[in-house]
Symmetry: C2
Subunit: 225 residues, 2 copies
C-alpha cells in the first residue's frame, strides 16, 4: 500500500496511471509498496526472484550483468522518476536474460508486485505499451554501453567514467576502489590501476586511499572526446 505522496509520485511518473480503471487502480495500489534499500543492497539477482515494476523515488539503482566468475558489467542506472521492468521477466516472456539490480546509494523504490502488474498488462494496453517502451529505451542504453566497451579505447572509457561519476555525485572526489571501478567497466582491477596511475602522472587525478580526486578537469575532458 502506498501513502498519498507515494501515490502522487507514481501517478506523475507512470504514464499509464491515469488510464487505469478504478478497480485496476485499487488492485495496483494494494499490491504496491515503497521499499528502502541501503547503499550496496541487492534488489534483484537474476533468476531467483521476480520483482515486478520498479520506480525510483530517491537514490540511484545500478543494473548490471554478472559472469560465472563474478565479473560485473554495468548496463545502465536508474535515477529518481525512472522505471524498469527487466526484473519482471517472469511476466514479459520474450525477455530471456537476467540482470542484477542493486542500490548504488541509499534509495526509496516503489515496487508493483509481479502478479498485479501482470494482470494489469493483460487488461490495460497502456500499461503493456509502457513496459515495452521502457524496455526499448533500456535496449538503447545497453547498445550504447556495448559500443563503448567493444569499440572505445580504455583510456577514453575511463575518462568518461570519471567525468560521469563526478557529475552524478556533484563532487571532484570519486569515492570508489579500483576494484569497484573495474566492476563497473567490465575490466580487471590491474588495468584500472595502471591507467589511473598514468592519469596521475599526467597531472589529471590525485590518488589516495579509497578515493580519486580530479585535479585537471580540462585534460580529462580532452581524453573523453
Amino acid at each position: 500500500m502506498l501513502n498519498a505522496s507515494e501515490e502522487l509520485f507514481a501517478e506523475e511518473n507512470l504514464e499509464f496511471w491515469k488510464r487505469m480503471s478504478k478497480p485496476q487502480r485499487e488492485m495496483v495500489l494494494n499490491s504496491a509498496t515503497c521499499v528502502k534499500y541501503k547503499k550496496g543492497e541487492s534488489l534483484h539477482d537474476g533468476v531467483n526472484n521476480c520483482l515486478g515494476l520498479v520506480l525510483v523515488m530517491e537514490g540511484r539503482l545500478r543494473i548490471f550483468i554478472l559472469s560465472e566468475e563474478g565479473k560485473e558489467v554495468t548496463l545502465f542506472r536508474l535515477n529518481p522518476s525512472e522505471a524498469c521492468v527487466l526484473s519482471a521477466s517472469c511476466i514479459l516472456k520474450n525477455i530471456t536474460f537476467d540482470v542484477h539490480i542493486e542500490a548504488e546509494k541509499d534509495s526509496s523504490v516503489i515496487i508493483i508486485n509481479p502478479k498485479a502488474f501482470e494482470n494489469l498488462c493483460l487488461e490495460n494496453v497502456y500499461a503493456e505499451n509502457f513496459s515495452y517502451k521502457v524496455i526499448t529505451a533500456h535496449f538503447s542504453e545497453v547498445m550504447w554501453a556495448m559500443e563503448q566497451i567493444l569499440f572505445m579505447s580504455f583510456e577514453k572509457r575511463l575518462a568518461i567514467f570519471l567525468i560521469d561519476q563526478s557529475s552524478l555525485d556533484n563532487s571532484e572526489y570519486i569515492s570508489m576502489t579500483h576494484e569497484e571501478i573495474a566492476n563497473h567497466m567490465g575490466s580487471a582491477r590491474e588495468v584500472v590501476s595502471r591507467m589511473l596511475k598514468y592519469f596521475q602522472n599526467e597531472g589529471i587525478v590525485e590518488l589516495s586511499r579509497g578515493d580519486i580526486k580530479i585535479i585537471d578537469k580540462k585534460k580529462l575532458r580532452a581524453l573523453a572526446l
Copy 2:
C-alpha cells in the same frame, strides 16, 4: 505491392495482419514490396536510411554494429519468417542506436515502408505491440551476444561460432575467410587465425584457402561446453 503468395506469407508471419481494418490493409499492401538482395549486399547502413519493417521470406540477413575504425560485431541474424524493426528507428523514437543490415545469403525480403508502418502503428495498437515485442526479443539476443563477448573465453566462442555456422549451412565446410569470422566475432583477424591454427594442430579442423573443414566435431563440441 505484394503478389498473392507474398501477401499470404506476410499474413502468416505478422501477427497484426489479421487485426488490420480494410483501409489499413490496403495502405500497407500498397506500400509493401518484396526486394531481392544478393549475398553481401547492404539493406541498411545506420543513420542514412529508414527502411521500415523488414520480414525475411528467403535467405538470411545479418544485423551488426560497426565502429568508426570499421570493426564489426554481429548482434543477431534473421532467418525466413523473422521480422525486424530496428531499421525503423525513424518511427520508434526510443531506439537511439543504429544498426547495419546486410544479406548473408541471396535473400528475398518483404519491406513495409516507414511512412505506412508509422501510420499503421499510430492507428493500430496490435501493430505497435508487435514492434515492441520483436524489439524485446532482439534485445534478448543482443544480451546473449554481449555476455558471450564479455564473459566467454575466445576459444569457446570460436568453437560455438564454427558449430553454429556449420549447422546453419548444414555442411562441415565453412566458406569464410579469417577476416570475415573476425568481423562476426568482433575480434581481430590475427586472433582468429592463431586460434584456428591451434584448432588445426589439435586435429579439430583442417584449414585450406578460403574454407575451414570440421574434422572432429566431438572435440569441437567439447570446447563449446
